[in-house]
């Protein structure tokens, strides 16, 4: 397993280099002014300030050399400096990663609990009313854009009912409920569908019939025998869904006024603050690869049939 882990980490380096090259090319080769972030409220930069900034950020060098310079700093874990605020991108990530991390974990928990819960209910009530209801509800949840879910939840639970805060961090743990549900709902619906299918298949398998014939309670059959094997694809899926969380967080953090990586990314993209865009995405890619490595390791632990060194 150690060899596998090391190999995966080496793959990660290749993925990071590829992602950074792709993004660098998109951001810096695309037409447009690389210093647009500093135009601020649509002011033009005076020539001497522009010249000083071009010099500071080596924007007059050929792009391949700029990229080599970027990678040489990346190797030293230095992600550069925000054009707009002249703050270290590492510092921005340090500040924001915790917020997005909390949100992502809460969303994952929400996905898991809501998704698996609904999936199990649907699987055991297959083709009955409750199952149909869950199938319809999950279709709606999958189809709705994140911002519609977010604004809808705000409207109902914050503005109409007043149960939860509309936005911000001010209300402690209550503040995270709506953002986490918003972020997790679409994925929870997919998890529910996946659980419904895999558990449904498992419940028709021979070993379940055997377990039932042994006289185990239905609950024990479902949770101990059926669910254990059905969860492996679900967990693998949650790993992949993690990548989507960063994209979703961009919308959710903007709607709910959370100061995380997603919001920093949106702000940077709109302001064309390229070093921040690069930094957040490179960080996101690294986190995604690492989470999926963990998911693979967990899957192997759950299912001895999965061999990691193959």
């Amino acid at each position: 397993m150690a060899g596998y882990t090391v190999r995966r980490l080496l793959h990660m380096v290749v993925v990071l280099l590829g992602a950074s090259l792709l993004l660098f090319t998109c951001l810096f080769v695309a037409p447009g002014d690389p210093l647009a972030a500093i135009e601020g409220e649509n002011r033009a930069l005076d020539p001497s300030t522009r010249a000083a900034l071009v010099d500071r950020y080596r924007l007059d060098e050929p792009l391949p050399r700029q990229y080599v310079h970027y990678v040489s700093r990346l190797v030293r874990a230095d992600l550069g400096e925000s054009y707009r605020q002249r703050r270290s991108v590492n510092e921005v990530l340090r500040e924001k990663a915790g917020t997005t991390g909390r949100l992502a974990v809460a969303a994952l928990v929400c996905q898991f609990l809501l998704g698996v819960g609904a999936g199990v209910v649907a699987a055991v009530t297959r083709r009955r009313f409750v199952d149909v209801l869950i199938v319809v509800a999950t279709s709606v949840a999958i189809g709705l854009p994140v911002f519609v879910i977010g604004l809808g939840l705000q409207q109902v639970f914050a503005q109409r009912l007043g149960w939860l805060p509309l936005q911000g961090h001010g209300a402690g743990a209550r503040s995270i409920v709506l953002p986490a549900v918003t972020l997790g709902l679409g994925y929870a619906a997919l998890v529910a569908r996946l659980t419904r299918t895999t558990l449904g298949e498992a419940l028709r398998a021979d070993y379940i019939r055997t377990a039932t014939a042994k006289g185990l309670s239905w609950r024990a059959v479902v949770t101990r025998h059926g669910l254990r094997t059905s969860l492996i694809p679900v967990i693998a899926y949650l790993g992949i869904a993690f990548g989507g969380l960063l994209g979703g967080a961009a919308v959710v953090e903007t709607i709910f006024n959370w100061d995380g990586l997603g919001r920093a990314l949106v702000t940077a993209v709109v302001a064309q603050d390229n070093p921040v865009v690069m930094g957040v995405v490179v960080y996101g890619v690294a986190a995604f690869v690492l989470v999926n490595l963990v998911v693979d390791l967990v899957s192997a632990a759950l299912d001895p049939r999965i061999r990691l060194d193959g």
Binding site: E39, E41, G168, N257
Partner: protein, 551 residues
Amino acid sequence: MRGERRRLGSVALAMAVLAVACGGGSDGGDSASPTTAGDAAAQARQGGIFRQPINEPAFIDPYNGQEGNGNRVIKRLFVGLTTFDGNPDLVMKPGVAETWSSDATCAQWTFNLRRSTFSNGEEVTAESFIRGWTRAADGRAISRVAGHLSGIQGYPELHGAPDSPPTATTFAGLSAPDPQTLSVKLGAPDCEFDKKTVHSVMSPVPSVAGAFDNKEFNEAPVGNGPFMIKPGTKWEHDRGISLVRSDTYFGAKPNLDGIEFVILPSQAPPAAQYSAFEAGDLDVATPPVGLRAAAEAKYGPTGGFLSRLPYATGFIGVNVSGATLGDPNARRALSLALDRDALSKAVAEGYWQPASALIPPPFGSYHQAGVCDACRFDPVKAKELGTSAGLSSDTHLRFLVSSASNPVLVAYKDQIEKNLGVAVDLEALPLAEALARQAAGEYELIALSWGADYPTTDNFLFPLLGQGSAENAGKYANTEFNDLVRQARAQRDDGERRTLLKRAEQIAIGQDLALVPTFYVPNQVVFDADKWTGVDLDFFGHLTFQTISLK
């Protein structure tokens, strides 16, 4: 770069720079107390934290306060040499300087400072100003607002230029004959230099400020203003900035205990701020376009709806040196073809005021309503003038805009096409590219607006229309206009200067229509008038925190 250039169509709320609302006292440079609140406010209730939404600033350190969000914070933390209360004659009021004067040429200025301290107890002296201005003008700081100091002797040596690195580390034109006297030598006469000292880049800083790259000070500046960063806190990026009343402030103490600047995402839906206000999370908000009339109906009756014109004007920049619109009659035709009233009703619930001068109404005695006689709607006259100036169905006008789907810009296009029978080609470009195209003369029209950095009309006329200004990209050149602006800078008498500047606008706008004024766009906010009193906006769109108190 002097003024603040922005595209028309972005709601003009965040005006840069200026003016803690100071007032009271006497006119001009006489000694006066910069009190603001007056007797009523002196008896007002103390306490309360006022929560105002802003977007993430770029900087809150005065050396690089370059946009409205940062300047909203900076102007609460720092007070410069002079202050401005929005009076119609643009007369400056004392700030740290109790009195000031210039020599006969207006190139040598002397400011006499009051005894006062920063919030950390350090005394504010002439050296504090020299430190702050030098720190910003230092070429290594790459401050984008340093240009406001460029009139002072020694700036080129300290700042450097694209092809010549800085050769000095001190500001040759600044000196302190004694701790309470600041002497400023300018490179050229400027009888309105005192007005420029309200800019945030001209703030004094204490010795703990250190160099421009002192991160600690960048994130939690120590100033001499009515508020200070809450002790033990600093700028929490994307979250907020907490200020508390400063007991060391030399002027009238604010009634508020503090200000909470709540940082909202700049990309949040337009209604988010208003919703947060209605949910009780904010004490003030800008209603979204489309809901302003409803907001006025809801909050107006109690006095909780404010609408104030800023020192800004929206306009259509014209390539006056190009062949198509080189004839003033062609530009007049263009202006007469615009139905400003209908456009305001269609896109701004009627709140935008049709402009009839470049210098907007808040300039008081400097504003000349109607100086642009072609700023009215007369399609018949427009067509007639257009035809005589050679505009025809073969004419294509390249119109540089921020967005080709912005309803205001589309309406301009439709009205010009319909009333003049020409073709208008909207070309949506990022500002930097639009300005490059403008500089290269590859355009006919560009939608812009301009807001003043300080209360001078020169800050409109010279940058936009003066010879040698980088912002005069339409390349308007009129010798008489340039002479008048130059004479005004050397004119010590306020009345005479006003006459010269008004005459300059009459030539550039009334006679030549070198650009087409379109709208004055008000700043509008709502607040809970049952809870707060004394809430107002200064001409730069900042809340008058020194007069706000709990009811």
